[in-house]
């Protein structure tokens, strides 16, 4: 088995364990590349079906192209799509125009997710976390319990081995199921290339007003997500670029770099 086949097989197995273990589960979907790989893997696991709802936490700051992609993909994949917005926060004026990115991300992503969880009472969320994204994510488990406050107790995680996972949670708690944990950014791209998985066009380099070509490596809210200079306008070119780069994937995501240990603080509060 080659590397991608092995990663795919392990992820499918995790999807099936999650679906068996939790009758109430959902899959957050950001429409980013990893998220679309998740959709694809779910369809592989369940023979062309996605037997649980897919959740878009809409910050209302998505790029217009992302909304277009969302509506197209929901139809294409026959998704049971739920869109959730933290309306209270938006009505109170929380936004990038007036607040710092950590606060906004917390309110419009984490709090919004908490609201959706409280409303639908899901016991498990399938997420696209990868260990290579950030050091704090390196310590994740495939089935990672979160307490009622969404906190991740990384100091006392249950053991996990031999394909056996933590599938029991208490009242108000939930499990984050993370089928992409072992995948790297490069694996994701190789797989997108191999399977011809549809993704938003913003990942590909396009010339800007200054004539320089840029592309997005990671997609988030438009006020705080910046493209990086790149010539890569096809998947093959992106892969070639990644094979030589030493710049981190989330370099263009402002909320990570707002202050020291920003990512750890966000994650401890329930950010994915």
């Amino acid at each position: 088995m080659n590397r991608l086949d092995k990663l795919e097989a392990d992820s499918i197995s995790i999807f099936r364990e999650a679906y068996h273990s939790f009758s109430d589960l959902a899959m957050p979907w950001s429409m980013g590349k990893d998220s679309n790989v998740l959709i694809w893997l779910a369809k592989r696991a369940f023979c062309g079906h996605i037997p649980f709802p897919v959740l878009h936490i809409d910050t209302t700051y998505e790029f217009p192209e992302m909304y277009e992609f969302r509506d197209w993909a929901a139809k294409e994949h026959n998704l049971n799509l739920i869109v959730w917005i933290n309306k209270e926060a938006r009505e109170q004026g929380v936004g990038y125009e007036t607040h710092d990115p950590v606060t906004v991300t917390h309110e419009l992503k984490t709090v919004a997710l908490q609201q959706a969880m409280a409303h639908y009472r899901w016991k498990a969320l399938i997420t696209g976390i990868r260990r290579d994204e950030d050091p704090t994510r390196a310590k994740e488990r495939y089935f990672s319990p979160r307490n009622a406050e969404f906190e991740w107790d990384y100091r006392d995680q249950p053991p996990e081995f031999w394909n056996q996972f933590t599938t029991q949670v208490g009242e108000g708690e939930h499990v984050r199921v993370q089928p992409l944990l072992d995948w790297t950014e490069l694996d994701i791209w190789r797989y997108i290339e191999r399977e011809a998985i549809p993704i938003p066009k913003m990942y590909f380099a396009r010339p800007g007003a200054d004539g320089k070509k840029r592309r997005f490596r990671s997609l988030g809210c438009h006020p705080i997500t910046h493209p990086v200079e790149s010539e890569a306008s096809t998947i093959a070119e992106i892969i070639r670029e990644l094979e030589t780069t030493k710049i981190s994937e989330r370099a263009g995501r402002a909320q990570d770099h707002h202050e020291r240990n920003a990512m750890q603080k966000l994650r401890a509060k329930g950010f994915m």
Partner: protein
């Protein structure tokens, strides 16, 4: 020439060893030497160290979490990648602190090779040995022992040889041989990538050379076919069996038997969404979705095998287990156990030995529990038949985990099973009897793990019969003994609602109670009855009834005298009897005939309830349990 990413072979490597023996430093150094660090990372950490007045350490490259830097210990496994020209490595840094053994196991269980670090200056320590033992249980056979911090012992060959002798003797006892022993100084990069001039006496490989000599885990493709069934889906009007190929190869048209039910069918198709061509084969390591020719009963937990090499079906097996739970693993207590996708109730029926990780000798004294971080050889008994393998035949179906408090608390490796030659369509394992039709008492006892029995509590009103019976029921329940209390309350309201308190009705009441108790005991329960049952003849009749059916009848005389009972008078009945409000009240105006030869006498006016319960519990556990215990006369502990 570098291979492209998809062709590049990868190998999962775990780094273990006693706390502070230099695991994170070695990994940091490997990253530095193989130029695998993200741009600017090294400079950023050097700068941060300078700003806080700390000496730069390679370990900081890994210890990205703030808390870890404060405590200077790695609290969890991290996973990162580096590359050599030979292959990619996925490196799992496992913590060395004893408290974090569960994280070490979590990381190491997925590794194909290991580096075990020993500090040259400190020598072989407790966790050095425990980690060696766990690597052998986790079936990791490619091991480099790196003797680190050689700079602290002046690069002395003698110091290295001493550790080499001592530790290879230890590994030898485990049947493990380290592939390489390498003297290094990770902090300075000696013998990591570059050969160290300071140790001219060493002519073996460097760490990276040794790693590149390893092989990715030998595929289970050539083993016997094992399909673990994860789920049955009904999509698009088709019944799809989904799971994972643990071992062997499956092709369309193969005849498969699903153990433990032994139903057979041929594979009609292998399903794969958006495949260019429908697959004809699936191999070990792949997830599968298949349809069958016949609509046989298949459910999650079963293991699909080829007919000529089935797995074993058993209720009892031997295992070597490591325990990570906060609470000890207790003998004879029911636990949730998972093997592949099977979930079962099982218990430990014998703890044969608990290994001292220092000496690998059995720890002294008989044990009724396995403590946190201990390794034990024991026997496991399951309520129902289980499909499984010896770990040395098929690794992934030859091991199990035990759940305690909702968490994975231990892992066991199966050995000593005897394989059937082929699947003959019926159960072939030696420790299972199979009869069609009527289920015998033996089979029920086998299923429950204990025989049925009647414990007949007799004594005056207020003597403590119900207190003891219900207390005992609770204790038995916790130990997985199926029991039930029959008393006046649950019989008089229903089955005996037509009876009064005349001598004739009281006799009939006891007869019916005896009959119900006997039936329930035949069904496999330990029945605890709580009736005054004052007359010898009535009790004798129940005893004979049980004897005729081969049911154990134990007469328990709760012997508190009238004065004591009348003083307690919990329901105020004596008072009412003395006042003439109740007639035919035993001890007042109706006689109580003391048992002449009761099996147990419990003077509740002289000894405490706890003491009575302890005696009862010991009696029940030693009489009804079918589980062989290696010791006799051991007292069950009252919990």
């Amino acid at each position: 020439m570098q291979q492209t990413h998809s062709e590049l072979e990868s190998l999962r490597l775990v780094v273990v060893g006693h706390v502070d023996h230099g695991k994170s430093t070695l990994i940091g150094r490997i990253f530095y030497d193989t130029d695998s660090l993200p741009h600017g990372k090294l400079e950023a950490i050097r700068k941060a160290c300078a700003a806080e007045g700390m000496e730069f350490e390679y370990a900081f490259l890994l210890d990205a979490l703030l808390e870890e830097q404060e405590q200077n210990i790695t609290i969890d496994t991290t996973q990162i990648h580096f590359r050599t020209s030979r292959r990619e490595y996925i490196i799992i840094d496992a913590p060395g602190h004893k408290e974090f053994l569960k994280n070490m196991v979590t990381g190491a269980a997925r590794a194909e090779a290991a580096i075990l670090l020993i500090d040259a200056h400190e020598g072989v320590r407790e966790q050095s040995k425990r980690h060696g033992l766990l690597l052998s249980l986790l079936n990791i056979r490619q091991v480099i022992v790196a003797v680190n911090k050689m700079d602290l012992v002046d690069f002395s060959q003698e110091a290295f040889e001493k550790i080499f002798q001592q530790y290879s003797a230890y590994l030898g006892k485990l049947g493990v041989r380290a592939t390489h022993f390498i003297p290094i100084a990770a902090k300075h990069g000696h013998n990591v990538l570059h050969r160290a001039m300071q140790m001219p006496w060493y002519d073996g490989p460097t760490i990276l050379q040794a790693l590149d000599s390893f092989q990715p885990s030998t595929s289970a493709e050539n083993g016997p076919l094992r399909l673990t069934v994860q789920d049955i889906y009904r999509f698009d009007h088709r019944r799809i069996i989904a799971g994972r190929v643990e071992s062997g190869t499956l092709a369309v048209g193969d005849e498969i038997v699903f153990v433990p039910d032994h139903k057979r069918s041929r594979v009609a198709s292998i399903e794969r969404w958006r495949a260019d061509v429908p697959p004809f084969k699936v191999r070990a390591g792949e997830s599968f979705a298949i349809t069958l020719e016949e609509q046989i009963f298949v459910e999650r937990g079963q293991i699909g095998c080829h007919l000529n090499a089935p797995c074993v079906e058993a209720r009892e097996w031997k295992a070597t287990l490591f325990w990570l739970g906060n609470e000890p693993l207790r003998l004879n207590q029911n636990y949730e156990l998972r093997i592949g996708t099977q979930k079962l109730t099982a218990r430990i029926t014998a703890i044969e030995k608990v290994l001292d990780s220092e000496t690998l000798e059995p720890a002294s004294g008989a044990r009724s529990e396995v403590g946190r971080h201990e390794v034990a050889v024991l026997r496991v008994h399951s309520r129902r038949p289980v499909a499984l393998d010896n770990a040395d035949t098929v690794t992934s179906t030859g091991r199990f985990v035990i759940i305690d408090g909702g968490r994975i608390a231990g892992g066991g490796v199966v050995s000593g099973l005897v394989y059937p030659k082929s699947d003959s369509g019926k159960v072939t394992s030696a420790n299972i009897s199979w009869t069609e039709g009527e289920i015998g008492r033996e089979e029920r006892a086998e299923l429950f793990g204990h025989t049925g029995a009647v414990y007949w509590f007799t004594g005056l009103s207020g003597s403590g019969k119900s207190t003891l019976a219900t207390g005992l029921e609770r204790l038995l329940h916790r130990r997985g003994i199926h029991s039930f209390v029959l008393d006046g309350d649950n019989l008089r309201h229903g089955l005996c609602a037509d009876l009064g308190f005349s001598e004739k009705d009281r006799a009939e009441n006891i007869r019916r109670a005896g009959e119900v108790a006997r039936l329930m005991a035949e069904a496999g329960l330990v029945v605890l009855t709580s009736f005054i049952s004052p007359f010898r003849a009535d009790r004798q009749r129940v005893r004979e009834m049980c004897a005729a059916s081969g049911i154990m009848f134990i007469e328990v005389y709760v012997s508190a005298p009238l004065e004591a009972c009348e003083m307690r008078d919990p329901k105020g009945l004596y008072k009412r009897a003395r006042a003439g409000e109740i007639h035919h009240f035993t001890g007042i105006d109706s006689p109580y005939e003391k048992p002449l030869a009761p099996e147990l006498v419990l003077p509740t006016h002289e000894i405490s309830t706890e003491e009575c319960l302890q005696r009862l519990l010991n009696h029940v556990m030693s009489r009804v349990s079918r589980l062989q215990t290696s010791r006799t006369g051991e007292e069950a502990v009252l919990i």
